[in-house]
Symmetry: C2
């Protein structure tokens, strides 16, 4: 059983209640706690020593990543983060200064985005460090952007550049909160996600059809009413310098395009919007964020499935994250 | 460096913001998100295989404990739980049915208290299972009960019976949410905590003097303006059957009173209220909860420190949790 099958098993019949606007299956849970014009966003995520960071990594970067991952999910809903709790599991031989440096990384990133760190929990975790972050945020009810909502012929956009994150970016990326807030305020964004498993894997989450914003669900990821497809332009995919350098340096490394499609941990925003808004959005973006690339990489199609167009024509693209790309 | 010293180090200068009513240092964080009459409560807690439960434990009981610990903290603020997220770290050789049974335990307890499970995260944790729960709840602004707020000559009450929790209760305790809601609605409760580290350790958290309810703090556990003391009546401490049986069965086991004072994981409510309300409260409690013991175990004193009165007189009681009790 792989992780996806396990998650499907576990989220089959989760208990719900009247507060749930969106439960498992989106970047954050969306709750209606009774605020007049805002939803509350709720997210948890964990980083584990030896899995998400190596044992020699500077504590500040570990803390940055631990909080940054959750912030990136708040960004994907166009939300603003409010407060976080930190649960940290420590082996018996932990060094207090190292744990303090993890907190320094957390605190510095929290301050940057006005997030309060309101407590947490320390416990024992034999063998290695386990850091779990829980985050509360808010978003205006009419600005919340879910994964569902793409429409046929929508333009697909990506911020920044993809691939090679494990060369360093995964430890110091800046969550795209400012950019997402601006997007939601400036254009009708149909659907959005932050890239954590790689473009080829995560894009399929935006192909779920019409939005289910106000469904009071008995939890679980609600099935989408209609499945769409997507067509990417190979030449348009923005490939990071790290992915290119890695391909040059190591003969066994992934080709740069494959790295950009599947490496994961990019923490960039992937979103869709009406094709008529594509050019005005690109123009406005360049004025607002001159130092961050925004690229239209393809379009949503009515025919389900993921395809990529290159010199050899239009071909099916394997969608499940790290799976081999036949190019 | 022990856990308490580590926590003091980490919570020295946490970032705050205008939403924080109470940050690190109480049972839950208390946030003002803009609701007219309610605060939002926010809590995270973790259970680890080999630390909080043994590897042979039924998954349902593990899940019950994982969520129950957080619910108990919401109870300690007299709050109502709303929604939870589950982050679970799994070793490579995990059994999906076992993970599913953990979720069954979580879901069953969630349904009992109307809590929505709105998603979470699965990740790798080499060697053993790590379950981190994050919980959101709400409480009326004028009913929130903090750890601070005890006054001199207040009566000290405890629900249920103490000690021997590791014989089984720690895996199937019922969080005292219903009881706490009733208490807050019926009597002016001054301060409250749920017992997790043992009466002798946790009682000191209620000796912080006047409440600091609306302090907008730069995080951290705010120093109490005045430190109080407490005097317990040895004969009044309600000792559980499990603690008594264990003392009888094993010559090396703690004496029952010591077990009741220090075993930990009782998950009962410890609270203080004006001495004039003590008898009416006990009478009303017996009518409302005829099957759950409530006991007045002592009083708050102006002189700092923890004391216990038995046949030999009044003696100092070591307060730091599992430390030897000289009786």
């Amino acid at each position: 059983m792989n992780e996806l099958e396990l998650i499907q098993l576990l989220t089959r019949s989760l208990p719900g209640n009247a507060s749930v606007v969106a439960g498992a299956g989106d970047d954050c849970a969306v709750l209606d706690l009774g605020l007049a014009s805002e939803y509350v966003l709720f997210k948890t995520d964990a980083v584990v020593e030896g899995v998400h960071f190596t044992s020699g990594t500077a504590g500040e970067r570990v803390g940055h990543k631990a909080l940054g991952r959750c912030l990136s999910d708040i960004a994907a809903m166009a939300g603003e983060p409010t407060a976080a709790l930190i649960a940290i599991g420590l082996p018996a031989n932990y060094r207090p200064e190292y744990v303090a440096s993890i907190y320094e990384g957390i605190n510095a990133l929290a301050k940057k985005f006005g997030v309060a760190i309101v407590g947490g929990e320390t416990t024992t975790n034999p063998g290695h460090i386990f850091i779990s972050v829980a985050l509360i945020g808010k978003v205006e009810k009419d600005k919340a952007i879910l994964r569902k909502g793409s429409r046929p012929s929508d333009a697909i956009f990506i911020t920044g550049e993809l691939g090679g994150s494990f060369q360093g970016k995964h430890l110091d990326f800046i969550p795209r909160i400012t950019e997402a807030r601006w997007l939601a305020a400036s254009f009708p964004i149909h659907a959005m996600i932050d890239l954590s498993d790689g473009l080829a894997g995560d894009l399929r989450h935006l192909l779920g059809g019409t939005p289910v914003r106000h469904s009071l669900g008995e939890g679980g990821s609600s099935a989408s009413p209609k499945t769409l497809g997507a067509e990417l332009l190979s030449a348009a995919i923005p490939i990071s310098r790290a992915a290119k350098l890695q391909a040059k340096a190591e003969s066994s490394a992934k080709p740069p395009l494959l790295a950009a499609l599947t490496d994961g941990e990019d923490f960039e925003l992937l979103f869709t919007t009406s094709s008529k808004d594509a050019v005005p959005l690109l123009d406005a973006w360049k004025r607002e964020f001159p130092n961050l690339r925004l690229t239209c990489i393809g379009k949503i199609t009515t025919e389900p499935g993921l395809k990529i167009r290159d010199k050899q024509g239009l071909r099916a693209l394997q969608a499940t994250g790290y799976i081999h790309f036949p190019g």
